[in-house]
Each structure stands twice: as structure tokens, then as C-alpha cells.
Amino acid sequence: MTDIQKVFANGKKAFVGFITAGDPTLFDSKRYLEIMQDSGVDIIEVGIPFSDPIAEGPVIQNADLRALKGGAHLEEIFAMVGRIQKKVPFLFMTYANPVYVYGYERFFARCKKEGVSGVIIPDIPFEESGEVKEVAQKYGVVVVDMVAPTSEDRIKKVCAESRGFIYLVSSMGVTGMRESIDTDISSVCSQIRQVTSTPVCVGFGISSPEQARNMAAQSDGAIVGSAIVKIIEQYGAYADARLREFLTSVARAVHGAG
């Protein structure tokens, strides 16, 4: 059983939390990531900033820009993540180009060394994921597959060999907070469950504990990104207390979802 699978043992609902590494500095990110794992986040996504994040809405786009301006490069991000005493699984979330340019072998070997369990790369769809998955698997790193509301017939092939968890994109469009999520999450989840027993976590647009509870109730967990990044955008290097408060409330909502 991988460390990601253990999170979902006995039907536990998972709270997956995201922040961008280097926003506002790598020094702050290390502390914020530690706060996350101590505040009930079950799986942590560390965003590696990219100049052109096409799947992101304005909140994470701006976080990426802040991080890049501050000089957060992959080398330093690996080092920072490596220094964290990990109590929960850590994943990287980034785009194809930084990983490709670093070199697949070198990237996944480094993930293994620094204790990173998986990656999410939204611009590598299933059809193009063969090479990345092969190298990642060699180093015991999971490549998370994504399902969208438009996947329909694609669900079968995308989910058949899925590992870790499946990232279900809640609604069309880019990341960012939404007033409501109109996709029939239960129905998509049941389609996925016909294909695989891999847990399903729902992300994109979840901003409140109530939404998180609702999404987790219909799936195996809720992924929250922009709402956390928004707190860092507002409070910069002084977001500790606000983060703890928000994360704890979301964790309580997700873990209570039944």
C-alpha cells in the first residue's frame, strides 16, 4: 500500500491542500507546508511555479508570478521540500515544460530523494503520459490522472491504470473559487468506480468548508487550492494564524463528511 492509499484507509475522506512554492518566499513556504500538515491536510500539493500556467485562474497565476519574481527555481524548491519532516504524502503540481527541461529521470529521481510521492501535471493528458509514467514508476512516484466533466467515454481508459488518487475536475474552466459547482459529481464518481477502486478527489472551485464537505461527501476527498493561496496573497509572510484557522475548519468539514 502506498502512502497515498493509506490516507484513504477505512473510508477516510481526504483533505488535499495546495500552495505555490516560493510564494512569497521559499522560507515562508516551508513553514506554511508544515502548518498544513499540522492543521489536518491529508495530502499536500506543492505547486512548482510556471511562467504560463494555462489551467490556472488569476489567484494561482499571480502566486506563480510572485514566486518566479522571488527567484523560486526548481533546484531550491526540491531542497526546501527535502528539509520538511513529512507527516503526510507530498505531491508536486506543475506543468510539463519545467519537468521535461529538468529531465524526467533527474526529476523523478530527485522526487524520490526528497520524499515526494507523486506529481500532477495538467497539460500532460492520458495519451501523452506514457513516457512520464514509465520513468516516475521506476522511482516509485505516482502520476495522478485527471478526469473532467467532459471526459465521458474517456473515463474508462484514463482511470483503468490510475494510481494514488484520481483528480476529478469539478467544473469546466480554470482553477479558482466558484459560487457553485453544477456538475453532477456523484454521477461522475460512480462512472469512475465502475472502472477502478482508486479513490477520487474533487478539485477546482472549492473555497469554503461547506463546499469541501459537500464535495467530499460525494467522493473520497476535496482539493482546495486558490482559497488557501488567496490567504497568502492577502497576508504574505504573516499568514500563519489565518492559514491554521481556515485549514482546520476545512479539515473538520471534510473529515466529518460522510
Partner: protein, 396 residues
């Protein structure tokens, strides 16, 4: 040249989020069907001929030829197409396809504004909604085209993210497409992006070389020594090259925007300075830093101000079938003025990059031979910017 998965050698592919895969597959299926459909092709040909004014002329630039004293210089006059550039060939093709697919709305990125104007025009003609994404910086450089698009009924969004130029306009289009995919077609303007765009856009632009090849054979009784075109993403170049690829004696030359020089950071010459990477849906060459962050490129020409190149160009370069040369701002401006004075034709600043190289090239080719330059667009849109570049304070 491409295999089933939309690869040109190792280049190409479909690197888009899962949210777009359904739309990309749908487009691929529809394009595969309609490109073999007689009725679709007849309708497109009718639009190209009766609406856009094709075939475009192959013009012998006699004054320029005599001034240079080398081989004959021919201009493929895409600037004479309706809307003033080659972009209309692709815009009409994709708009018609989108209409057949039941789409009601077109979105498109634009750099210089030519593709935006072409898409807005096609949308107006075919009764579709249209929204154009243009980098904020480009809306200033090309204010006239912004107004034209509005006149044509399109909504223009000034993109303020990133470097506020063409690449950011493409990002914004991809984001908008994921947001509203059911009734919307993304009318991508160059031979780039995820499969099937590089192939489809090339096919729609291949009319340029299909005509030019027949025209030069009729006029000269022989193939040209070279065909020359400017390259940003590379659509007019791919169109100009395509039917000459099999003619091994014809050199295919792409002219990249070197900006202030390939040894400076202010350049957009991807073949000269780029490296392999994955971006905007494709595996190709990109201007980027050592960590894979996309570089903020620069060129005087908004249409060539793009940090990547279409995958088929990367492939033609790798196998040595096509050559790519960098041309600086200064050289392009000089050619812009030269053609205006010698032939009474004001070329687009993009096409001026090709002209600048053609003038150098013509000197070294036997007088009996010929070369064809793709005059991809007309220069009206550039006049104010060139005046400012020359230190004259006039405005659009």
C-alpha cells in the same frame, strides 16, 4: 508528414488539460471527415475565390530585381487577400468547419491583429459570435486593428497577464476554451498548438504554395531556386513551403524575428535560440530559460513576437529540408522601406523580415533563376509604428 498521433518526427502531440481533450478529439474527427468532403471543399474554395479574392497574384518585382542585380524576385501577394493577409485562408477554413460542427462562437488569439481581423471577418460572414484575445501591449501597437475587429462585431479582450503579448493571448484563449467548450471553437491562427491544429492550419494555408507552384511554372517554366517566408508560429511559411517540400532543388527558407539580435535577450528567433520543450499543446522548440520558464521574447513585429515555432518547422529544420535565418528589426525596417520605394508596395513588417533576407539571397543566385517571397500581409497597420521607430511622432 505527420503520423496518426499528430507528430512530425518527435515534434507535435496533444499536450492539453483533460478538460480540452474531448473538444480536441471532436475537432480531429470532424476535420478528418470534412477535409475529404467534396461539398465542404467546394464551399471553402468558393469563399476563398469569391470572397477573399484568390488566387493571389504572383508578381514579378522587376524594379527590385534590377536594383539588386541578382535572380528574379517574385512576390506571392497574400497582402492582396481580403483583410490584407494570408490569415483569412485559415480563418475561413476553420470558421466553416466550426459551423459544420454546430459551433456558434469563435474565439481566437491575435498578435498583430491580422488573425483577429480575419477571424472576426469570417465570423461576421458566417453569422457567428466572435471574441478575440489580444495582449494589452499589442492592442496599443495595433490600435487600428482593434477598432476593425470591433467594427466587424467582435468583442476584443485586452490580455493583461504575463508579458501581455501573443503567448499570453494564446494562454487566455486556452483558458476561455476550457471554460466554454460546447458551443465554441478555438480558431487558432498558426501551425501550432495541439494536434490537429498544426496539420489543419497548414492544410488551409497550403493553397499559397499550390497556387505559387503552378504560377511560377507557367511564368518561368521552371521551379524557383528558393521560397522565402517569415516565421513566427509559422503559418504563412508552412503554406508557402508545403507543395515545394517534394521539390528537392527548391530551398525552403524561414525568416525568424531576431529583434535586436540573437545575441541579445530581445529576440524572438526560436530556431536560433530556443530549446526543446512542451508548451501550448505541443512538443517543439521554445525560447526559455534553464528551468523551462518561457522567455519574454521581443520583436518589432507583433505577429512574430512568439516564443515558439510550429512542430512541422522544427521537424523540417531537424531533417535539414528547410533553413531558418534570423532577421533583425533594423533589417526588416530597411526592407519595409525598400519595397515601398521601389515597387510601390507597402509590406507588413512581418513579411519585411522575409524580404530582407530575400534581397541578400537574390544577389547570390544566377540571374536566370528566381525566388519567391511570401508577401504575407500588407503594411498599412504598421505605418504608424514604423514612423515612430524612425523617430517621427505620428499616430494612427
Amino acid at each position: 508528414m505527420e503520423n496518426k498521433k499528430g507528430r512530425f518526427g518527435e515534434y507535435g502531440g496533444q499536450y492539453v488539460p483533460e478538460t480540452l481533450m474531448h473538444a480536441i478529439e471532436e475537432l480531429d474527427g470532424a476535420y478528418s471527415y470534412y477535409k475529404e468532403d467534396k461539398e465542404f471543399n467546394a464551399e471553402l474554395t468558393r469563399l476563398l475565390n469569391e470572397y477573399a479574392g484568390r488566387p493571389s497574384l504572383l508578381y514579378y518585382a522587376e524594379n527590385l530585381t534590377k536594383l539588386i542585380g541578382g535572380c528574379k524576385i517574385y512576390l506571392k501577394r497574400e497582402d492582396l487577400n481580403h483583410t490584407g493577409a494570408h490569415k483569412i485562408n485559415n480563418a475561413l477554413g476553420q470558421a466553416l468547419l466550426a459551423k459544420k460542427m454546430g459551433k456558434k462562437r469563435l474565439i481566437a488569439e491575435t498578435g498583430a491583429g491580422q488573425h483577429g481581423v480575419a477571424t472576426a471577418t469570417a465570423a461576421a460572414l458566417l453569422g457567428m459570435e466572435c471574441e478575440i484575445y489580444m495582449g494589452e501591449e499589442d492592442t496599443v501597437r495595433q490600435a487600428l486593428n482593434v477598432y476593425k475587429m470591433k467594427l466587424l462585431g467582435a468583442k476584443v479582450h485586452a490580455v493583461t497577464s504575463g508579458t501581455k503579448t501573443l503567448k499570453d493571448a494564446v494562454n487566455e484563449c486556452m483558458r476561455e476554451w476550457t471554460n466554454r467548450v460546447a458551443d465554441t471553437h478555438y480558431c487558432l491562427g498558426s501551425v501550432m498548438g495541439p494536434h490537429p491544429f498544426p496539420t489543419m492550419v497548414r492544410d488551409f494555408q497550403a493553397v499559397i504554395s499550390r497556387e505559387a507552384r503552378e504560377q511560377i511554372l507557367a511564368l518561368e517554366g521552371a521551379l524557383p531556386a528558393a521560397v522565402v517566408a517569415c516565421v513566427g508560429g509559422g503559418s504563412n511559411a508552412m503554406g508557402m513551403f508545403y507543395h515545394f517540400i517534394g521539390d528537392k532543388g527548391v530551398r525552403l527558407i524561414g525568416c525568424e524575428a531576431a529583434g535586436r539580435g540573437v545575441n541579445t535577450l530581445e529576440t524572438a528567433a526560436t530556431i536560433a535560440t530556443g530549446k526543446k520543450g512542451i508548451f501550448h499543446g505541443m512538443f517543439s522548440l521554445f525560447c526559455q530559460d534553464e528551468y523551462g520558464q518561457i522567455a519574454p521574447v521581443y520583436s518589432i513585429s507583433a505577429g512574430l513576437d512568439y516564443p515558439g515555432i510550429g512542430p512541422e518547422h522544427a521537424y523540417l529544420h531537424d531533417i535539414g529540408r528547410a533553413e531558418y535565418v534570423p532577421v533583425t528589426d533594423d533589417e526588416a525596417v530597411e526592407a519595409f522601406e525598400l519595397l515601398s520605394k521601389t515597387e510601390g508596395i507597402i509590406p507588413a513588417i512581418e513579411s519585411s523580415h522575409a524580404l530582407a533576407h530575400a534581397v541578400k539571397l537574390a544577389k547570390d543566385i544566377d540571374k536566370k533563376g528566381s525566388i519567391i517571397v511570401c508577401l504575407s500581409g500588407r503594411g498599412d497597420k504598421d505605418v504608424a509604428a514604423i514612423a515612430r521607430y524612425k523617430g517621427e511622432n505620428i499616430y494612427d
